[in-house]
Symmetry: C2
Subunit: 565 residues, 2 copies
Amino acid sequence: MTEPIVPKIEDQALKENAAKPKKEKPAKAPKEVKAKAPAKKKIEGAEMKGIDVAKEDDLAEWYKQVLTKAKMIDYYDVSGCYILLPSACYIWRTIREWFTDNIETLGVEEGYFPIFISEDNLTREKEHIEGFAAEVAWVTHGGNSKLEKRVAIRPTSETAMYGFFARHIQSYQDLPLKLNQWNNVVRWEFKHPMPFLRSREFLWQEGHTAHFTKAEADKEVLQILDWYAGIYEHLLAVPMVKGTKTNNEKFAGADYTTTVEGFIPSTGRGIQGGTSHMLGQHFSKMFDIKVEDPEKGPNGEAKPAINVWQNSWGFTTRSIGVMIMIHSDNKGLVIPPRVAKTQVVIIPVGVTAKTSEEKKQELYGDVEKFAKDLRGTKAWDIKVRVETDTRDKYSPGWKFNDWELKGVPLRLEWGPKDKEAGVLTYSRRDTGAKSTIPVGDLTTEVPKLLETIQGDLFTKADAEYKEHRKEITNWDDFVPALNSKNVCLIPHCEGDDCEDEIKKMSARTSEGDSAAEDARAPSMGAKSLCIPFEQPDGIKEGETKCTNPNCKELAKRWVMFGRSY
Amino acid sequence: MTEPIVPKIEDQALKENAAKPKKEKPAKAPKEVKAKAPAKKKIEGAEMKGIDVAKEDDLAEWYKQVLTKAKMIDYYDVSGCYILLPSACYIWRTIREWFTDNIETLGVEEGYFPIFISEDNLTREKEHIEGFAAEVAWVTHGGNSKLEKRVAIRPTSETAMYGFFARHIQSYQDLPLKLNQWNNVVRWEFKHPMPFLRSREFLWQEGHTAHFTKAEADKEVLQILDWYAGIYEHLLAVPMVKGTKTNNEKFAGADYTTTVEGFIPSTGRGIQGGTSHMLGQHFSKMFDIKVEDPEKGPNGEAKPAINVWQNSWGFTTRSIGVMIMIHSDNKGLVIPPRVAKTQVVIIPVGVTAKTSEEKKQELYGDVEKFAKDLRGTKAWDIKVRVETDTRDKYSPGWKFNDWELKGVPLRLEWGPKDKEAGVLTYSRRDTGAKSTIPVGDLTTEVPKLLETIQGDLFTKADAEYKEHRKEITNWDDFVPALNSKNVCLIPHCEGDDCEDEIKKMSARTSEGDSAAEDARAPSMGAKSLCIPFEQPDGIKEGETKCTNPNCKELAKRWVMFGRSY
């Protein structure tokens, strides 16, 4: 019951010549908004239901309004918890199916481990519990009875799963063991919560695998990371930088952590997109997961048992928030076609008081027929998802705003003039560009156009990210670059303390006189986001110094630093 | 990314003439085992890994062994919680996809509401909280901090969701609202836990809908119930009886509860399979979910606002336990083909010390080719799932036992003799029957055979259930019928107290002298399972008395009573 592995975005309609919409007019240039307008201004085109604050004025308030008014989430009476509405769940389901199809090719199977973890197990790996202790939610009562032993709600499932691994893995022939689960986890953070980006409960998948050799584990970690980047790039149209976390930033209990790191242009901050960890033998030693070595010693004697090499990797609903932060605008959501629950809306227009009932019904009938035809086509190998909006009580303009708010990628209009000309008028949500499609080309052009929109969204975001990744070799340029909403690659010694120092030194405003945080002019320190796999040139071994002026070490690699979520 | 709605089982290969396996030999008749053998006997064919207690001797121990040795679940160090392994998750995923495809045709959308419920909300509907208070798990601490207000883990999500319903439903045009979520819920029961059947955490779907009229709600409740029966009948090959719960047994806070009720032949007990509730306006009054009436009064005045009519319906992983209890046997699991992660295993046979390496590799090559060919075919419109077992260190006999333990529906054997004859030998897991398939017919016969097995499993279980549903009109026959492992339909007054009395009166052994429970000779009282939709004849209005001899009331309907899980 699974879909075929979807082709990569490059393979399909994103090529230059894929879908050439006819005579596309650029959207009206949006009125320029000054970066720090003192008062919240009314957004052009917004109405009662629309968004009444600009993304560039107050990102946090804009984000909240976009999510709630477009019915992506709703707020809830337990702090840090949010209601995910159908358009959010649709995105998550698409991610789930795509990723499942991919990991199944590696032989990863689906399991489900309990939400509760005994305190004994949770605390077994020392570094791990230190990383999570502060945010574990504890169940102490069942009904009116106090439990003999309190139980933790999983913040992640290493310690829930590895007792099973120890029982199940009896011989090297039971390896590799590869399990994945889709579930909810709880991290009772006390920082300011934000829907998707920082919530106390979130949905994710967590994969846990055990291998006989380190080499196998290393290979899988990277394969998974590629698919995490793939979810962002091919589904969410969001560019990522792949790399390794520094020692300071790696997962609690891992040998090393690989990561995909994204970028929010509005704030110039980095954001972690998903992590794939090589756990080494830390957990296998604590949980006693080991197998006999099938090779014998020189005299035929058994060699010591070998602890297995483990990976864990997780991808969360945070990704949906990243996507929204990047693509959406002052009219509301902008959802990439591949993950949009509704990809196309068809709206009848030009019906006035003078239009006869017969003509109106004819137009409405056409609209339903177009919808039916389009539902028979596929984009990205999946049936096109089409709605019609024939609600009489709303004007076309009201409907346009409503569907724009919801982020539907493509709007088609059909009125008497269109009928006369034998074309449908369309409007792209991403660019606002309008043009027409001949009726006869509808079922071929719309799927192409959806893929074009998908590709254009990625291309735009990718260019923006590239433009805001600055290679800096002079410390004096570092903080100003951060203040201009960039992330910075710098030659770095990879020392833990040096990294901490850079964080402190960059926790100032451009005036250099305050370390206070301010949402509008972020002055938080820059932390290391990752050591990118793709390294710029310019570091000379034994010569290039660490960019931190107080550091005496030589630079090892370019490290990406940035203010971050 | 959804599969097409699957055809009903009747439509497909279950017709008499579907797959006629050639010259099928019946399996060896199992040796008869006396019902109450004093000692646990060794099971024929079982080996080290096999099951060492008979289903008919000690059902609870057998169940535990089947589940763990066949790697369907594993035990866990938090009581009442179990690990679901891939073959269990596969079944759940199939159920999820099938049910999702169906409810989408009703316009039900997917949402996700938080796992935590505030105490304020949880306790808002009085009957509801009374039903759940004793088993709610409470989170009181986050990290080392005591929470200001403790939060409940959802035992079900009515009270998590209906605040949103109240905010979202502003007008009758926002109706119907239909949301479904797939999640985990926690009921901290203190009764003896059993994997799948009674666990503290379980997976389920819960649908919650709001309607403008009662008639709409009534209709949906029944449609959902049909699909619940469909999951059992078409996927799990388990027969169900549809009906309404009596007042005593309905959901806490519902107007009425419809249910599908199954039957475990080994114990003669009933088991609830899934429930679909019409909540009436109980919750909509407590949560203030109401809309203006679009109709005006006689003088054009607004009518009072109308509280919406609500349904909720849930289906859980318990269903997997029911399926296992019914079909599996002393060799291990028997999994119906439609939900089996592996449907076919191909095992090379007849390789001896004398077989040349070349011949062996040729056989192994054939086996892989057969597997590949079969993977290109479909049964029940889904690709056939095939494994091969070419592990050299195990004998064919060992492998046969191993795959039988795991419940794989169909085994194919391929050895030098088969090759000479141009046939594969097969063995059905459900009946043990063996026969052959000509090599050329493999890709047409195997899919048919899988559907035949699916149908035969249902037919057998259905006949068994029918045989054990006794229509009883004389009280003296009631307890003996229960003691002979039946459920009983009796003319009943539908009075709450009378029902309680029947429970007490039937909580005796056949000797009538003890109310003590005993797992081997269950003497628990019979509770009402449901009022079946399909009513036998025989109740004469104003004439037929309630079957309880102490009850003076007239019978209203046939009510199904039974000892139960």
